[in-house]
Amino acid sequence: MLVDIKNITCSYKNHIALTDVSLSADAGEIIVCIGPNGAGKSTLIRAIAATIPLQNGHIHVDNHEISQLAASQRAQLIAVVPQTVIMPAGFTVREVVAMARYAFHPWYQHHTGHDDQIISYAMAQAGVAHFADTPANQLSGGEQQRVAFARAIAQQPKVLLLDETTAHLDLHHQHAIINCIKALAQCGVLVIAAMHDINLAASFATRVCVLQKGHLLADGAPATVLNQSFLEQVYQTPLKVVPQADHPTPLFLLQH
């Protein structure tokens, strides 16, 4: 197992965000976590990236207890695309993507031609290569998000974590990013994504996890997990279901 999460509990100052969650996943899977606001999706992402402490349980990635790893070792294993990324002034897109390679070298070493290739490849994958030399902070929100995605790819991670990454993207770029995620998974990258769009999740996930109030309610193939009565109960909202001829899961829409 590439990622092995055993009985983890996490909490913020005065509320518990995750309760006794266990999950294990293998290379090449695309796992999408869905659930209402505050269900613990982002907390799960943070826990795997080891930026919040666990109160209970443990997480192994590639047979390493993640809290035992040095920050730079962790960054060579796990990459995260955060919900929103605001680019600082004074850096081109290429320079921002190059930050992914910092963890691979000590401070006195300049990055190599090999790093340059990885950076260029990552920019091409995320569709930001044509503004490589533009100041990153002058791009639109969606473009900045894609730069963050390129930076995560340039870390060449074994585990890629996405926190609402596609939320700010237009349809064309959502499609492009999802194709890119599928390609990465085929190369053996484990992708774990937190997401609100159930239909988008169903279209590309190999597994869907449903979280509610910090509990993992369901975990399985999209076609088995995503059914009307269960989702209506989780979201406390009546849904309309539209079957699709060419896809095993139906579309879930709000009832008017």
């Binding site: 930026t51 730079s72 070792q73 796990i78 990324v85 600082p88 081109t92 320079e95 910092y102 401070w107």
Partner: protein
């Protein structure tokens, strides 16, 4: 943070030129600064004397009083001024990166005032009889570290730290430190004019041993900043994202705080409270070479040295033979610059 970066791409081609220009300006301004003074010394004489002095060969042709003026008065002062400028420029660039705030500068966040209080307290405690120069940098470093620590803790509070809190905490602590400094000065009494000169900024102490200490602290401070420079780029993103990218946030922050504070403290101890060098210089440099701290910090130090040297020359000559504190010159250039920067930052936000 919004800088005028629309032309970054075109200006990036000037990176190499920026280093070359910095070096040329440093050397030429240094020579001019030795030439200019109450007794003007011809530049070829200056070069000959320096050449012999560097090779440690006695010089016989040039009158010995000129040699004395150059080697024991002007040269140490010029080196001291350049080191102080480099310290303030480099520290300013580092603090701006650390606090993710384009207005952070050793003066604005109160570190310089803390160093001033520490230095004055050291003098007061060290006995008002001798101007205990060697106690000042130590006191200044302690004072500056206390202020940095307090600013950090106050701004951090219980929640996640935010940058505006940090600047406001710095302003409040600077006011307190300045008030205490004035109180101690009034009580020392005797050397009021000398101490006033210290508060306004001016090269008060220029023995070769003081210069040596200044050079050492700039070398140590700059080394720490250059070690941290690359990873400081990532700290421009929120702390959590920096950790996603594999940065040891605590280590980098510690390196930057100690390095920048050490340089600020010695600059204040030997050269008084000089404002705005740490804000004018890094901003101007950033326009030409971008935000990468690996270039920004060393170039800010170089141009800081040049800037303070020019300001010091102006301060020496504008009312010659009387000398005005260099802090007045830098404040006259810096305050309008700061206000302009404040406006552009506000517009961007």
């Amino acid at each position: 943070m919004q800088y005028a970066v629309s032309q970054i791409k075109r200006l990036r081609d000037w990176r190499g030129a920026a280093y070359l220009l910095a070096l040329t300006l440093c050397v030429s301004c240094m020579l001019v600064a030795i030439v200019v003074g109450s007794v003007a010394i011809p530049i070829n004489t200056v070069i000959v004397v320096l050449w012999h002095w560097l090779r440690n060969i006695p010089e016989t042709v040039i009158p010995s009083n000129l040699v004395t003026i150059i080697v024991t008065i002007r040269l140490p002062r010029v080196v001291m001024v350049m080191c102080a400028g480099a310290a303030l420029g480099g520290a300013g660039a580092a603090y701006q990166g650390l606090f993710r705030n384009p207005l952070a500068d050793p003066y604005v966040i109160g570190v310089a005032s803390g160093a001033g209080l520490g230095a004055i307290s050291a003098v007061a405690l060290g006995g008002a009889l001798a101007f205990a120069w060697y106690l000042m940098p130590l006191g200044a470093f302690v004072g500056a570290l206390v202020v940095v620590g307090l600013v950090y803790l106050l701004a951090r509070g219980n929640a996640q730290y935010t940058n505006n809190d940090l600047i406001l905490a710095g302003v409040a602590l600077a006011a307190l430190a300045n008030a205490l400094t004035t109180y101690i000065m009034l009580n020392i009494g005797r050397q009021l004019s000398q101490l006033l000169g210290f508060l306004l900024g001016g090269a008060t102490i220029v023995g070769w041993d003081a210069v040596g200490l200044m050079v050492v602290s700039v070398v140590i401070g700059m080394t720490m900043l250059l070690i941290a420079a690359r990873d400081l780029n990532v700290l421009l993103f929120p702390e959590e994202q920096a950790r996603f990218l594999g940065i040891n946030v605590v280590r980098i922050r510690a390196l930057v705080v100690i390095g920048a504070t050490l340089m600020t403290a010695t600059a204040v101890a030997f050269h008084g409270l000089i404002g705005f060098v740490g804000i004018i210089v890094p901003h101007s440099v950033r326009l030409f070479v971008g935000g990468d701290h690996r270039r920004l910090i060393p170039l800010s130090a170089c141009y800081g040295a040049v800037f303070l040297l020019l300001a010091d020359m102006l301060a020496r000559t504008i009312q010659s033979p009387q000398e005005i504190p260099v802090g007045i010159v830098t404040a006259c250039c810096g305050a309008p610059f700061f206000l302009w920067q404040l406006r552009t930052t506000k517009k961007a936000a």
